[in-house]
C-alpha cells in the first residue's frame, strides 16, 4: 500500500469524512421522502457504499471526469456536486441539476466533470471510454473514472469498452462497485469467478481488488490507478467489494438475502464508522470535531431539502426545450 491517503493533510481527510456523511444523510433523506410519497418515480440508494465513491474521487482533479450509474448520488457528491441542486432535481424542480427533467437516475454536472448518472445498466461505460479518448486526442491529461456495478459487468458494453480502452491505452479507470447483488441476482450466481477484477486479464488490463468499505485503501489504490492512466499506460480495473444497505430501489422485499447478512455489514463494516475510528486513533480529529463534521453535514442536507421544497416547478413552456442543441 502506498499510504497516499494517510499522508493527506488534516483538512483533506476531514473533508472525506464530511463527504461520506453528506452522502449518507442525503440518501437517508431521500429514502424517507420516498416512503412518505413526497418524491415520485424511483431511486437507488448507496447507503453503505460511501467509501468507494469518496475514495474513488479522492485523487481526482477538478477537471477529471466521471460517469456514474443509477446508484449515483454518492458519486455525484464525491465529485463536488451541490446537495441542494441534487435534492431539487429529485423534487423535480427547475433549480435541479437537470431542471427537473432528469430525476434521480440522470443527475449530471458536466461543468464539474460529472458526465451523468445512467438509467441503463452498463450505459455509461462506453461514454467514459469516449471521454478518455477526448482527453487523449486533445492531450488534456484528464482521466475518466467509470463507475458501474457488479451486474453491469455482464453487459456486452462492459466487455467491449474494456477492450477498446485497452487497445487504445486510454486514460480511464474502471471502478466496479461490487455490492454483491444486481437488483436481486447474487453476484455468486451471475458471475462464475470469485473476483470481477480478474475480468481485466482478458483485455490486458490490470485488475485490483479493494475493500470498498475502507476509504483509505480505496483512495490509495485509486491514486495509483489514476496515475497510471494519466501517464499514458492505459486503463485499470478496480473492484471495490462493498454492500448496499437498503433495497435495490424503493420497492424491494429483499427476499434474495438474509437479514443476518445485512446486519453483519451494517455493524461490522460501516465505512463511515471505520474511517472515523481511524481518524480518532491517529489523532487526526477529536471526538468533538467528528461530531461537528457530522452535524454540519446533516445541517447542509436539511438546507438542501428546504431549498428543494422552496424551488419552483418547471413551467410548461419549457417542455419542448433542450431536445436539440
Amino acid at each position: 500500500m502506498t499510504d497516499w491517503a494517510g499522508r493527506q493533510s488534516d483538512e483533506v481527510v476531514k473533508d472525506w469524512l464530511r463527504q461520506m456523511h453528506l452522502i449518507r444523510f442525503f440518501d437517508e433523506k431521500v429514502d424517507e421522502f420516498f416512503a412518505k410519497g413526497m418524491i415520485h418515480g424511483t431511486t437507488h440508494l448507496c447507503v453503505g457504499q460511501e467509501a468507494s465513491a469518496v475514495g474513488a474521487c479522492a485523487p481526482l482533479k477538478d477537471d477529471d471526469m466521471i460517469t456514474s450509474t443509477h446508484r449515483g448520488h454518492g458519486h455525484c457528491i464525491a465529485k463536488g456536486a451541490e446537495p441542494d441542486r441534487m435534492m431539487a432535481e429529485l423534487f423535480g424542480r427547475v433549480t435541479g441539476y437537470c431542471k427537473g427533467k432528469g430525476g434521480s437516475m440522470h443527475i449530471a454536472d458536466v461543468d464539474k466533470g460529472n458526465l451523468g448518472a445512467n438509467g441503463i445498466v452498463g450505459g455509461g461505460i462506453p461514454l467514459a471510454v469516449g471521454a478518455a479518448l477526448t482527453s487523449q486526442m486533445k492531450k488534456q491529461g484528464k482521466v475518466a473514472v467509470c463507475f458501474f456495478g457488479d451486474g453491469a459487468t455482464n453487459e456486452g458494453s462492459f466487455h467491449e469498452s474494456l477492450n477498446l480502452a485497452s487497445i487504445w491505452k486510454l486514460p480511464v479507470v474502471f471502478v466496479c462497485e461490487n455490492n454483491q447483488y444486481g437488483m436481486s441476482g447474487p453476484v455468486k450466481d451471475m458471475v462464475n469467478i470469485e473476483d470481477i477484477a480478474d475480468r481485466g486479464a482478458s483485455y490486458g488490463i490490470p485488475g485490483r481488488v479493494v475493500d470498498g468499505n475502507n476509504l483509505l485503501e480505496m483512495a490509495d489504490v485509486m491514486e495509483e490507478a489514476v496515475m497510471q492512466a494519466r501517464s499514458g499506460s492505459g486503463p485499470v480495473l478496480i473492484e471495490a467489494k462493498t454492500y448496499r444497505w437498503k433495497g435495490h430501489s424503493k420497492s424491494d422485499a429483499k427476499k434474495y438475502r438474509t437479514r443476518e447478512e445485512e446486519k453483519d455489514w451494517r455493524t461490522n463494516k460501516d465505512p463511515i464508522k471505520r474511517f472515523e475510528e481511524w481518524l480518532l486513533e491517529e489523532g487526526r480529529i477529536t471526538k468533538e470535531e467528528a461530531e461537528t463534521i457530522r452535524q454540519s453535514a446533516l445541517d447542509e442536507i436539511n438546507r438542501a431539502v428546504e431549498f428543494a421544497e422552496n424551488s419552483e416547478e418547471p413551467s410548461m413552456d419549457t417542455i419542448l426545450e433542450d431536445v436539440y442543441a
Binding site: 424542480r93 437537470c98 432528469g102 438509467g119 456486452g156 427476499k255 419542448l320
Partner: protein, 327 residues
C-alpha cells in the same frame, strides 16, 4: 367470473401454458425470488423451479439471442425484458436474427418465442424507463406486435402469442398492471389480428392502443353526455393489424381520431391513418383524420411535464369536438 389484475392475468396465462407444455420456459432478469420488476412472475419459481424460471444476468443481448436460438431448436421461450426501453440492447437479436431467420433460410426453421416487456410512462421513471417504442418493432417484417389494454385481453392474447410459431413482442403497460377486469379461470385464446370494439358509437371513431383505450373510453363517456356518440376501437395487435374492423368503423362514423402514447412523429398512428386513407373509408370521411400522440421529447421526470407529454382525456375530448366541427 372473478376479477383479477392485468399482472395476475399474465401470470395465470403463463403458468397454465407451462403446466401443459414443458417446452415453454421463462427467462429474464430478476424473475426468480424477486418475482420480476413488476411482480408478474411472483411465485412462479416456487412452482416451476429455476430450470424453467431462469433468472439471468443483466445481459439483454445474450438472453434475447439465447431465446432465439432455443426457439429455433425446439423450445418455446418467453423472455421478460425488464423494461421495454432495454429492447435497444436486444435489437440486433430481434431484428437481424429472430425476425429474419425463417425467410432468409428459405422457409426452414421457425422462432416460436415471446418477448414480454413493460412499456409506457406515468411512473416517474424518466427518459430511459418510460418509452413506447412499439413502432420500431412493428416496422420489422417477421415480428408480431401485441399491446393488450385489459387483463382479459392480456391473458387471451398471451396464449395466442405463446402458441404462435413466430417471434411476438408482447407489450404490457406498467400503469395497467394493477387494473382489473373479469377474467375466466380457464384458458382461452384471443387470436392475433383481431381488433376489439370496446364501445360502439355512431358519430366518431377513436382508435386507441394500450392505456389510451382507457382514456378514450373515459372521454367517450363524457362526450356521450355532450351528445356525441363515440366508437372506441382497440386494435390489440399492431402486427397483424385488423384493418377490416378499423375500416368498417371509420366508414360507419365518417370521423376518426387515432390515439397512442408513443411519440406522434413516426408513431404507429401514422400507419393506421395510412391504412384508412388508402381504403374505401376515405370516401366516407367528413373531417380530416386526426392523430394524437406524445410530444417529440424524451419522457421528462417532473410529474406535471410527464403527464403533459402524452394525450390526456381532455385532449381526446377536445380533438373529438374539433373533429365534429369539421376542423
Amino acid at each position: 367470473m372473478r376479477e383479477i389484475t392485468y399482472a395476475e392475468a399474465v401470470r395465470e396465462g403463463l403458468s397454465q401454458r407451462m403446466r401443459e407444455d414443458s417446452d415453454v420456459f421463462v427467462l429474464g432478469e430478476d424473475i426468480g425470488v424477486y418475482g420480476g420488476a413488476f411482480g408478474v412472475t411472483r411465485g412462479m419459481i416456487e412452482e416451476f423451479g429455476p430450470e424453467r424460471i431462469r433468472n439471468t444476468p443483466i445481459s439483454e443481448a445474450a438472453i434475447t439471442g439465447a431465446a432465439v436460438g432455443a426457439a429455433l431448436t425446439g423450445m418455446k421461450p418467453v423472455l421478460e425484458l425488464q423494461f421495454s426501453d432495454f429492447i435497444t440492447i436486444a435489437m440486433d437479436q430481434l431484428v437481424n436474427q429472430a425476425a429474419k431467420v425463417r425467410y432468409m433460410y428459405g422457409g426452414k426453421g421457425h422462432v416460436p418465442m415471446v418477448v414480454r416487456t413493460p412499456s409506457g410512462s406515468g411512473t416517474g421513471a424518466a427518459a430511459q424507463h418510460s418509452q413506447s417504442l412499439e413502432a420500431w418493432v412493428a416496422h420489422i417484417p417477421g415480428l408480431k406486435v401485441v399491446q393488450p389494454s385489459t387483463a382479459y385481453d392480456a391473458k387471451g392474447l398471451l396464449k395466442a402469442a405463446m402458441e404462435d410459431p413466430n417471434p411476438v413482442i408482447f407489450y404490457e403497460h406498467k400503469v395497467l398492471y394493477k387494473s382489473k377486469s373479469d377474467v375466466p379461470e380457464e384458458e382461452y385464446t384471443i387470436p392475433l389480428g383481431k381488433a376489439d370494439v370496446k364501445k360502439e358509437g355512431t358519430d366518431v371513431t377513436i382508435i386507441a392502443t394500450a392505456i389510451m383505450v382507457h382514456k378514450a373510453l373515459e372521454a367517450a363517456e363524457e362526450l356521450e353526455k355532450r351528445g356525441i356518440s363515440v366508437e372506441v376501437v382497440d386494435p390489440r395487435t399492431l402486427v397483424p393489424l385488423d384493418e377490416e374492423t378499423i375500416i368498417a368503423s371509420v366508414s360507419k362514423t365518417g370521423r376518426v381520431i387515432i390515439v397512442h402514447e408513443a411519440v406522434k412523429r413516426g408513431g404507429f398512428g401514422g400507419e393506421i391513418a395510412g391504412v384508412i386513407a388508402e381504403s374505401e373509408a376515405f370516401d366516407y370521411l367528413d373531417a380530416p383524420i386526426r392523430r394524437l400522440g406524445a410530444l417529440p421529447i424524451p419522457v421528462p421526470y417532473n410529474p406535471v411535464l410527464e403527464k403533459a407529454m402524452i394525450p390526456q382525456v381532455e385532449d381526446i375530448i377536445k380533438a373529438v369536438e374539433e373533429t365534429m366541427r369539421g376542423a
